[in-house]
Symmetry: C2
Subunit: 248 residues, 2 copies
């Protein structure tokens, strides 16, 4: 880790890869210009902690590239992931000055940070930002509730299948691939991170992945590279409603 990586490049919002999906999605160009003034980029290496729960947090941010996780930890060390942040997802809460969760980069990560105070002021004066943030927060709440069903009621096998389906679906939407072709992707999480996501141990994750592989529900090249020959089959294993659980 030769160079300490505070990336200071200052990209134009117009060229930003998450321009149309992030909290700024609905902003007009003059609004973007105001955002440019309060924003800065930060980069993190895979495995680095972005912020610890309870730490003072004087910014909010969007994930630009890479993946981050939100996790809660109990005193005795039990960990539960409570958020998986992909490009365009938002981190931090306006009106709160301490981080509520540990935020960790699971891949190399670039975040577009906004100084909190001016961002909060802008939210008051810029309905486009508040509107978009509300929409994104409602989506996250739906995702959290789907996740609660998984944690509370699904078997280990269903949990794994669900997670693979979630990753496959998202991957397809990023790459704009058809839903029907055989899906291929790399797992962005280690077995342990998957366990933290699913409320399992890493051993159980490993066993269930092996079982799904043995039965041909998935194929593995190496430990991370996954092929889904038949998404419908995987969805059945996930125990979701046939429509894929997407509303509206």
């Amino acid at each position: 880790m030769a160079h300490h990586d505070l990336n200071v490049v200052h990209q134009q919002c117009g060229d930003c890869p998450i321009r149309h999906r992030a909290v700024c999605a609905r902003c007009e160009s003059d609004e973007l210009q105001r955002l440019e003034e309060i924003k800065y980029y930060r980069s993190f290496q895979a495995g680095q902690t972005v912020i610890w729960s309870g730490d003072r947090m004087d910014f909010v941010a969007s994930v630009v590239t890479g993946i981050a996780t939100l996790t809660q930890t109990m005193e005795d060390g039990r960990r539960q992931m409570v958020g998986l942040l992909l490009p365009s997802d938002f981190v931090g809460r306006p009106g709160r000055d301490k981080a509520a969760y540990d935020v960790t980069a699971t891949t190399d990560l670039v975040m577009c940070c906004f100084r909190k105070k001016p961002f909060e002021e802008m939210m008051g004066s810029t309905p486009h930002i508040a509107q978009r943030l509300l929409e994104m927060t409602l989506d996250e709440l739906d995702a959290a509730r789907e996740w609660m069903l998984l944690l509370g009621r699904k078997t280990a096998r269903e949990k794994i299948a669900s997670l693979l389906a979630i990753i496959a679906r998202r991957d397809a939407s990023l790459k704009l691939k058809s839903q029907k072709s055989a899906l291929v992707f790399d797992l962005p999480l280690t077995r342990e991170e998957m366990a933290d996501y699913l409320g399992l141990t890493l051993e159980t994750v490993s066993r269930q992945i092996s079982a799904l592989k043995r039965e041909g529900v998935i194929e593995l090249q190496g430990k991370r590279h996954v092929t889904i020959p038949n998404l419908d089959r995987l969805m059945e294993e996930a125990g979701d409603d046939s429509d894929g659980g997407f509303l509206n």
Copy 2:
């Protein structure tokens, strides 16, 4: 069920018991007046279904009195509660026309409903409503994430203790009682509903409640009336951070 109970009383917002906590909390009197025009009350008896997941939903609403639940159900009948709605809590999602969850009255319930279309229009023109809704949604997201930790990582005993602590805390805040006095309240949920909340079976709920009672962590008069002689002790059993888990 003698009378079909569409309560048509039209209360003045100024007198509303949830005036200062609900989605309308920040509204000025002229804004309240506009809300009055698009609102109507509906009452439900304990056990009645407010709406089924997937049904068309042409209103959004605030709980005025009573308690409602949001639940998800899998094809084979496994159920997970994903929301517990108390007075002032908000139901429905602007911009979505179908219910995403089953909504059920667990006690007699009064809701203040707003016709969805005009409410959505008002949200665009009334920042006070959108701001408050964002704040409430962020709070719900935090609660959902706390709940995810419970579902994914806590033992049955910790789950029960956590739920009792949540109910006790909320009850104290409604009644404005001191946190330190012995807490007394009635469980608003059956054992089965508690099981659906906690991702357990009702038998396990019953056994753990019996165990906590046997060990003096709680006292029971009848099946519903609970006394917490020592909240700190209960919090320990819940496995939460000592501060009660409340941020900021």
